[in-house]
């Protein structure tokens, strides 16, 4: 999935109180602690199985032939439907393509399920479909099944789109969140916070026009380049979406039982994004991305992987931002630009509802 709320199970091992137990609140959608808790309490006990328990971005299953498939699903409820750099259609294709690709799979097929609100302008739907088509062509995936459902006015917000992707994993490729190892290098493929702040900007919450664009993009070509460079020495890949880079690194730290240290000065943030975050009180580490990857790779192949990523369209601003180890197990630390060290925790509350 684009988010890991449904598959990261640390809450099950160490139960937290289920906050706001009686009713669903928007903070359950943060991608952070409350999301994890809700999933751990409701979904895990019902559906627990080895595939889900792995806690990765896509479920990996094996056919009788030994071939492995990666399958991932994501519903998209982003508001507004159109924002600088993207729209719900491009997001729906890219989000699922990326979740399949980070498992090392070649994304092949995709399904699309639409929930359409009575009164939606057909022209709007046409624009979204055209955008999905363009993204699918760019990613090289084929839409093989679809569904349309209709609800009365006031029972949705224009349209929602679920996409589910299926990809094939080459033999010998097994990146997943549990494989982070001491000494591994952490790469980030570009600037953080662009998607979240582009959506905020489209909502008019900045109070001024900004140049911020969403990074929504299919990353499967870049992932293939990275795998060509380093193969199975790439231990983990994940796209830091809802909950941002901080939440993704915490998930990996917990899945692998390793500590992580990142360098604040190495993490690229565009100036307008940084300014917008400061104005609204957001930390870019927690703001969603839709076109960035975290790659955790064996140190001897880190430079080669970085070069391969930088040669790609969506990876030109890639950086080494840290390493695995030198921190307590399951914890993420950051060396700040002031030379101090701070704990980077998982997102706790809700900062941006309906960001994807």
């Amino acid at each position: 999935m684009n988010e890991h709320t449904e598959i990261n199970f640390e809450g099950a091992a160490c139960p937290l109180p289920l906050q706001h137990t009686a009713r669903i609140v928007m903070a359950h959608g943060s991608g952070g602690k409350m999301s994890h808790d809700l999933v751990a309490r409701l979904f895990v006990p019902a559906f627990d199985n080895p595939v889900l328990r792995a806690g990765d971005d896509a479920g990996v299953v094996e056919l009788a032939s030994g071939k492995r498939l990666a399958v991932s699903t994501d519903s998209h409820v982003v508001w507004p439907l159109f924002f600088p750099g993207g729209d719900i259609g491009r997001l729906a294709i890219c989000g699922t393509v990326n979740d399949v690709a980070v498992m090392g799979a070649e994304p092949k097929w995709i399904t699309a399920g639409f929930i359409l609100e009575e009164g939606l302008e057909v022209e709007t739907l046409q624009r979204v479909i055209a955008s999905m088509h363009a993204a699918a062509v760019e990613a090289g995936v084929e839409l093989i099944a679809g569904d349309t459902k209709f609800v009365q006015r006031g029972k949705a917000d224009g349209l929602y789109i679920n996409t589910t992707g299926v990809g094939i994993i080459p033999l010998g490729i097994t990146p997943n969140g549990s494989r982070a190892e001491e000494g591994d290098i952490i790469l980030l493929t570009g600037t953080i916070g662009d998607h979240g702040m582009a959506v905020v900007s489209a909502r008019g919450d900045l109070g001024f026009t900004s140049s911020i664009c969403s990074d929504t993009a299919p990353l499967n070509q870049m992932i293939r380049s990275a795998l060509d460079a380093a193969g199975d020495a790439i231990h983990v890949m994940r796209d830091p979406t809802r909950g941002g880079l901080a939440t993704t690194l915490n998930e990996i730290a917990r899945q692998s039982g390793k500590g992580i240290v990142i360098q604040e000065k190495a993490i690229p943030v565009k100036s307008p994004v940084r300014a917008a975050c400061e104005m609204l009180g957001f930390d870019p580490l927690y703001v969603a991305n839709e076109g960035k990857l975290v790659i955790i790779v064996r140190p001897d192949l880190a430079a080669r992987t970085l070069a391969a990523v930088r040669a790609c369209r969506y990876g030109e601003e890639a950086e080494m931002i840290g390493e695995v180890g030198n921190a307590p197990a399951g914890m993420v630390l950051m060396k700040t630009i002031f030379g101090s060290t701070r704990v980077v925790d998982m997102l706790a509350g809700e900062i941006l509802p309906r960001i994807c």
Copy 2:
């Protein structure tokens, strides 16, 4: 898909005017002509490919090994969430399991994407999840990926669930809507209209308490029994959901370019369902089912297939209801109980919104 609005392409070959072009209206969700038209005008031009063009309940793709996968997606927006004989969770599992199974596939894996409205009671979600789990166990499918999204109060109606299923098709099994042949026998695995009228009853629209129960059920075991009995002599299987038996038969007639004749007296309808339909002015032929199959089989194996189906839990009331041929190409005719013949067209308007 549970419905065929997105994959039946006759509208593309013979364009109808797109009714209500400017805005989405509830009638677009009928599963009938307006649904087909919307899909033909908006989705087909964007995503046309051989897999979608086949127009079946699931997309069928081939791996390099020659193994074939069936993939189907369905979003579920049924209201109310709970109704006699089922709920949105059981429906979400069964609908997708059935769409995969009617392609001759063994359903193996399923994904679930939830859209949750702020204020939803957690206890309600728990009940739905428990019901999904029970249905998944009954069907023998494993949930391998999930996703949760959250929208503000008034932007959904409790919860919506997308399920996407993946199944494996055994070698030599190729049922699909285009394979209906002159002389084939049409089996129906039980009574029609139960699901639709159970939901109507749960809405209080009958004005009295009824004994009507939804037929929501996973049909993959029954489908396996039928395939064991007749193998690839089963030319078509399809579950008559949204739009009812009439719409499903019309889809098959158009896909195959054959005529279809059914016998009204052979079509089983439970008395309370018939009474409720008469009271509300519905024709049971157009009311949705969620646990019934149409099976179109070579005549020499029809009796054997019928016996195999009747031996199954969900097929005890199966009947031979008609045959392929003796009608103009692409048309469905019905011999009425009065001895006359009437044309049975595809559903035209909207009769029951949010039935699945």
